[in-house]
Symmetry: C2
Subunit: 310 residues, 2 copies
């Protein structure tokens, strides 16, 4: 079973609008409401592929009730810790004429220290049944120091995949996360190193076993102590990139849960599921075309002496 | 008591964002959630001025529960008819750097015919205690033909103020509404007449007693069979014009409820409350500066032979 941990869940609300004119009023059909936050997207993708998952997160207020109701409707297995603070919202406006999406993410309100202690306890308890633990996304402002380390420790000996940013990315590597999935900007922000391979190696040096580096339309790199592999599609796909990283993490988790550690196999599925997410309007879904995307992409070894990521 | 009728209520959600870049992701503090829809704004403004009001509207789904909870918190007296369809949402993004607001209004889902019959019945029952009835805003797509006429009829002999647009504006005049409050675009759309005075006179000819014509920064006109009065501030105000028209309607309703029919008195309060609404970030609020705004504005009679609205 894959256990996903979402410290800062959100109710994702998406509207499609014919053409957005800043400063104007627009009419739209009823928006789509979905339980979101990166860890819930990871769980949703794996669940849709028939993989056994459990999503652990918090829920509070009227928005927490919406989050719970949507998870029950969609059937994603979940364990929700009730908290006093209302669950945050994330608002997406899709401009149909331009095809782009403008997003406003509420920062979120931190649960209390006592609620966080319960949350770590719930992860510890549920991790006992898991073969891999995924910790994804931001923490609400004001979350206690050491929370990420406590969540990794609560996972025990199981492999832990962490998708986060900022100083937490370094903390995750230091605390023994097995797999990290930064994008290029997150990696250079966290490490201060402009070369992505240097940044990835810094995370490996601190203790990570595998760094999956998403490069957007240029595909993805898998960096281990022994090799650097690159995967990319024959042509970039148009669509909604929101949730593409979560689909990649979900792909990694499904293979790690089966005990598969072959880097090329992991990279191929991660890149294909990520591309398949771009084809779908909502984060947390991947297109059924993912097997042909996995066929279509090219995996190649990078000559690490040249440090050439192109 | 002022009875306000809102056939298409909304949960109004407002976020302030430092600078909105189309196609980007943004972080924001938790948004403000308020029961909205024009008639609820009218009720909120009057209630804040200590005037006896009752807001009649519908509520359905999780959003309907939010609407009810917010009305209970804010203390606006209300009578909510439970309906099956979820209450719509209205999303506003305020760009702090530009000072402008971009809005997405869901169209709304119509209650069933049986629910509308109950709604008209509730208006009929509550109107017995009212001295004026206000019917404000749009109807959801698919609302039955003749609903506005039925709501006006349910108000009995009481004066009815209607703030709506399109063919419903003509229907309101035909059905005996006492006061109508279109803006310039709504009036020319509905009547097909480009001159606003011609448009206002068409509404009077059909049966309205007073047309309050809002002209944005140019103030407001009050048109009766006998006179045309213009009111404007010495200088336009910067701010959020959302809800300014509702504040004007609320001002008219508070005076009509007291039996005051003097056009200049009505025009002065309507223009001042409308301007006072522009100074507030959320629709449904007016600035406590409204008495000085009422002092500041100039009311003048327009020579109707010249049909000059400047």
């Amino acid at each position: 079973m894959i256990l996903t941990v979402t410290p800062n869940p959100a109710v994702d609300m998406t509207w499609e609008i014919d053409r957005i004119v800043p400063g104007d009023s627009h009419r739209a059909e009823t928006g789509a409401v979905r339980a979101g936050g990166k860890g819930l997207n990871v769980a949703r993708v794996a669940h849709a592929q028939g993989v056994d998952v459990l999503a652990v997160t918090t829920a509070g207020g009227a928005t927490g009730a919406e989050l719970r109701a949507e998870l029950e409707t969609s059937g994603v297995p979940h364990h929700l810790l009730p908290v006093a603070a209302a669950t945050r919202r994330s608002i997406a406006w899709v401009d149909r004429s331009l095809g782009d999406t403008t997003i406003v993410n509420e920062r979120g309100i931190s649960p209390t220290t006592a609620e966080w202690a319960e949350f770590v306890g719930a992860v510890h308890e549920q991790a006992a049944l898991a073969s891999v633990v995924v910790i994804s996304g931001s923490f609400p402002p004001g979350a206690p120091e050491g929370l990420l380390e406590a969540l990794i420790a609560a996972s025990g000996e199981r492999p832990v995949i962490v998708d986060t940013s900022g100083p937490l990315l370094l903390a995750a590597a230091d605390a023994g996360a097995s797999v990290l999935k930064p994008n290029r900007a997150e990696l250079s922000d966290a490490t201060g190193l402009s070369d992505p391979l240097d940044g990835a190696r810094e995370l490996l040096r601190r203790g990570a076993g595998l760094v999956m580096l998403s490069l957007g339309e240029e595909g993805m790199l898998a960096v281990t102590r022994d090799a650097v592999l690159s995967a990319r599609l024959s042509a970039p796909l148009a669509g909604n990139p929101t949730g593409a990283g979560d689909a990649a993490v979900s792909a990694v988790a499904t293979l790690v849960a089966e005990g598969i550690t072959d880097t090329e196999t992991i990279l191929r599925r991660a890149t294909a599921w990520s591309a398949a997410a771009v084809l779908m309007p909502l984060a947390g879904d991947i297109s059924p075309r993912h097997p042909e995307l996995a066929e279509d992409l090219t995996v190649s070894a990078i000559d690490t002496e040249k440090k050439d990521t192109e």
